[in-house]
Symmetry: C2
Subunit: 343 residues, 2 copies
DNA sequence: AATCTTTTCGGGAACGTTGCCATTAATGTA
DNA sequence: TACATTAATGGCAACGTTCCCGAAAAGATT
């Protein structure tokens, strides 16, 4: 890949690089004729300023880093879609990293992030992450960071989440109102903020309706299918098994559905199932899955906007960081109600 | 974000930058004591070489660009997962662009790609792209490019696809062997290589079994739900409607399923449905979806490996480019056979 | 006519790093 | 003792760009 430089133009037109540079930027202190000839030459030979040289000079890369647990997860790919959208309009590049739910990998990613001199970082924590020193360090050094979805209290910066408490509360209450008595909750990694919030919502709904909490109905579970099967089997070995499961994530809901099918437990007759998800196919599952929808795309957009806000006002110091809660929506389908078969 | 530089170390230790540079690289012509003190200082203040300065000097960015139609499409996010995996091990960054199935956007993306000086490009063409001059130009200028999934004959470089013909042939033949007589095929954008190959496989299977081709059963369709509904309605306005639909993509299959449900057409009783997809949830749909699985992750990995091969041997000129066909697999589920309900 | 402004441009440093070419001092060789 | 060799380090240019500063020429102001 050969690229024409400002020097080449200067040499060809018998000018200095300074003059060419100014002509290209349309400076007023350049003779219109000179300007025109420079422009024409640049156009003709398809001059494109070297962003790397610019980066070196200005000490910024015009790129942002994104660390997600797994890109191949509809929630995150939708969020990245939103991020890319905003970044594109701002003329920034999006550089992707995956933590694969591993703390070590996340730490290594943050090292790469700094070494690569990205201008800002968007991150959703891995399921294993309990210590966020690696992010604190970056933030203390002045790197703009926005946390989304899986956040941490220990970092003081902008955060974007969906209203996990409310969503969880509404989902649980929906199960209660449709007559379910023993409602289990399967949460994801207990370290995650989203898990904690959703458990709180679940407990709050039970409390409101004076349903005693049964610890044996509250389970934490990894995404593996075996893990899910194990948990389901645990729940059903209970002397009075649950008549509803409220699941804290898309993957878990799918795993439950498939396990319940395998165990020949009918949904929603034997047990109601409701997910916390944004899967487009949720409506097409058998049975169609009731769920609490999260605005993944909007979350990506909002996070990116906030990050650019931080990047562009990085000097104006006295910041007040905020945590933005995005709406959730309960969508009732067949997995939680025993009515007809078509909506 | 303040970063310590080689100059800082030099100043602090009363050395020249050259000495520090060589000490850091472990050069033999540096006094072991000096080397040690430099190393210690660098360690202590967390020196990280500035990759931007390196890039400027070496005229390479250690990053690769990836252009996909839509990141929020399980096939592509899985592929990107594979790409990121390989790139991570090679120490490269992955920079993501989306064409949103738009030719204009794809062209703009390629401009960004060049202006950003990525070391290589992985691309899957947009559905609107018929002219690939923008890619040819880049390739002629020496940018290593690997095409995957949605490829073009007009660019001579490495390509990675799944065996669309075979997958399509097997899918169609499966429908024939299970007694279907009027098999429709709904393809994606007619410009796409994947569409052409899959149509060929479909036609070949019909030919092998002496089934005459009915042009009215071969449809091209966009991903929009309205488009799909329109096509389905067209098919069923036929005097003898199809008894099977072989669909050329995951999204199309989902759209069909939902439309057929809405129209109260029973799958698989009234009509068999089979997709070309890699959706993890295909098994959980109602009915579970028969499909031809594509190895998206492997495709991403393979493409990335080939790209790095090109990048690293960019000088060794006489290249022989190849097109790699990856395996596909027919998975028969309930949407195409009328047997029992559980597998 | 002498001075002051503009206008238009060139020179050079700087961003962080590497690599070539000195340079110095110490050591080895005759 | 004189010269060649080696070890250890410094100086400087270069990558592509911008920006500050200066300079020459032309024009404007007394």
């Amino acid at each position: 890949m050969e690229h024409i430089t400002i020097k080449d133009i200067a040499k060809a037109l018998n000018l200095s690089t300074s003059t060419v540079s100014r002509a290209l930027r349309g400076s007023h202190e350049i003779n219109p004729d000179t300007k025109r000839s420079v422009m024409e030459y640049a156009e003709k030979f398809n001059y494109q300023p070297n962003p790397i040289a610019l980066s070196l000079k200005e000490n910024k890369s015009r790129s942002i880093g994104v660390i997600v647990p797994e890109i191949d997860n509809p929630f995150f790919s939708q969020a990245i879609n939103g991020i890319e959208d905003i970044a594109y309009n701002k003329g920034y590049q999006v550089v992707i990293f995956q933590s694969h739910e591993s703390y070590e990998r996340e730490v290594i990613n943050t090292q790469h992030i700094t070494s690569r001199r990205v201008d800002g970082l968007l991150i959703s924590l891995s399921g294993q992450t309990t210590n966020v020193e690696h992010l604190k360090n970056l933030h203390d050094k002045g790197l703009p960071i926005v946390l989304f979805d899986r956040i941490s209290d220990e970092i003081d910066t902008h955060k974007v989440i969906s209203d996990n408490f409310e969503g969880s509360f509404n989902g649980t209450e929906h199960l209660i109102k449709t007559g379910r008595k023993r409602i289990a909750h399967i949460a994801a990694s207990p370290h995650l903020s989203i898990s904690k919030e959703r458990v709180k919502g679940y407990l709050a709904a039970l409390a409101k309706h004076n349903i005693p909490v049964d610890e044996s109905l509250l389970k934490y579970c990894n995404y593996g299918l075996q893990d899910i099967e194990f948990v389901i089997d645990q729940l059903f070995s209970n002397e009075t098994p649950p008549d509803a499961i409220f699941t804290a994530s898309d993957r878990l809901a799918l795993g439950c559905l498939s396990t319940l099918k395998k165990r020949n437990i009918k949904v929603p007759e034997d047990i109601a199932l409701i997910g916390f998800t944004n899967l487009k196919v949720a409506a097409l599952l058998a049975p169609s899955l009731s769920t609490i929808v999260q605005p993944a795309l909007d979350m990506g957009k909002r996070s990116a906007e906030l990050l650019f806000d931080l990047i562009e006002n990085t000097s104006k110091l006295p910041k007040s960081y905020r945590t933005f809660k995005l709406y959730t929506e309960l969508i009732v389908r067949n997995s939680s109600v025993m009515k007809s078969d078509e909506e």
